[in-house]
């Protein structure tokens, strides 16, 4: 499948040659509409939950779950098989952080809320 980037590159080259047509632009537009399509005509957000042992992006991941192509997954039971060792590994693989660990929950030292420092990422 031709990607949006490839279609735009084709448009750019045609423009430089003075051959850019409406058909080129329509193909690029079609590619843009299909980008992120999950096959059902919908764009689906992928989510990655990572619980880490500190708020550092380099902290070791202690827990994970994900939503990928509309499917929920806990990831492998064996941590050795998890896709990311740190939050930074996930970012380097194209995930974008949309939620940092909530510092407000650290105000009560007598209790710990939940499972470590949670990052939520999306694609």
């Amino acid at each position: 499948m031709t990607t949006l980037k490839e279609e735009l590159q084709t448009c750019l080259e045609a423009f430089r040659r003075g051959e850019l047509t409406e058909a080129h632009l329509r193909r690029a537009l079609d590619s843009a509409e299909k980008a992120g399509d999950n096959g059902n005509g919908h764009r689906t957000q992928d989510l990655l939950y990572l619980q880490a042992n500190s708020t550092s992006l380099g902290a070791t991941v202690l827990g994970m779950a994900m939503l990928r192509d509309g499917q929920l997954s806990d990831g492998p039971a064996d941590p050795q098989l998890w896709p990311y060792v740190t939050v930074l590994d996930a970012i380097r693989d194209g995930w974008r952080v949309i939620h940092f660990p909530n510092m407000a929950l650290m105000m009560d030292e007598s209790r710990t809320y939940g499972l470590g420092c949670e990052f939520i990422l999306e694609k």
Binding site: Y49, Q51, N53, V61, L62, G63, M64, A65, M66, S73, D74, G75, P76, A77, P79, W82, R111, T112, Y113, G114, L115, G116
Partner: protein
Amino acid sequence: MKTHNCPPTLTDRQVLEFCKNGFLMLEGVVSDEINKRTLEYLEGNTSGEPIEILHEDWFMSNVIQNSQAAGAVRSLLGKNFGLPTLMSNHRVRTPAPAQGWHRDGGWKHGVELNYLQVFYYPQACTFEMGPTALLPGSHFLFSQSVYMGHYGSIRGTYYAVAPAGSIFITVYSIWHRRSASSVPGLRNLLKYNYWRLSPPERDWIVEPDFDFANADYAIHDAPTFREQFVDCTDAAHMFMWLCGQGDHFSTLGGQAWPLRARHDPMPYGVPSVLLNGSNHDVNLVTNGSRTSRH
């Protein structure tokens, strides 16, 4: 109200390990004959709450009052503890997806141990059959079940893979769930509670060489998800509470007790009730009488 009494079977170190991890696995303590009979019963009573099995003498004496399981319960809940009033069967057709992490309703957060959640496998449970997953140390990890729904795989998870006839005893508030199964079958898992009816005291099997000051209160096999040493402090507090000395629990802070001394014979900050002067004796109520010993 039905109660039971029997000899305690756990030692100081075993009770402390229970405080640290929040569970204890007793593998294969029920006989094959009883396991088979239980499975036959559950084929005839497929309810999620086969309470009637508590009226069966063979089940009561061999499972609920099983000498090893009841002995462990006796160690943790004291003499004349309360027997189950409800029986649940987590009867699952497999393969099935993992359940969400949760604490069962009715949990109370804290170091007091007044009730136990107990599970019995009448059949072997392999990893592929979706054993109960337990998160060691999570009985001290505050969270509400409704905020655990998005958690998936967690580092340090213990999977209760065990042979038929296994019973595992848990702190009621421990995080747990049914793990994912991958093979066709039918898994039965009975679940029930016991209650404390007498004040806590150190009346389990006392180990003469047990050293309150330098015992290892830290959990090592799983991450704690919390500030460093907090798990150690909570485990020590629960252990002291079980010894009947919960009101005397205190910590000095830093690298003091309940952390172990690395250089000196004894750490700073050991609660005085655990010591007797400078000779490092333990002076606690044991079997109803005061003892003083090295």
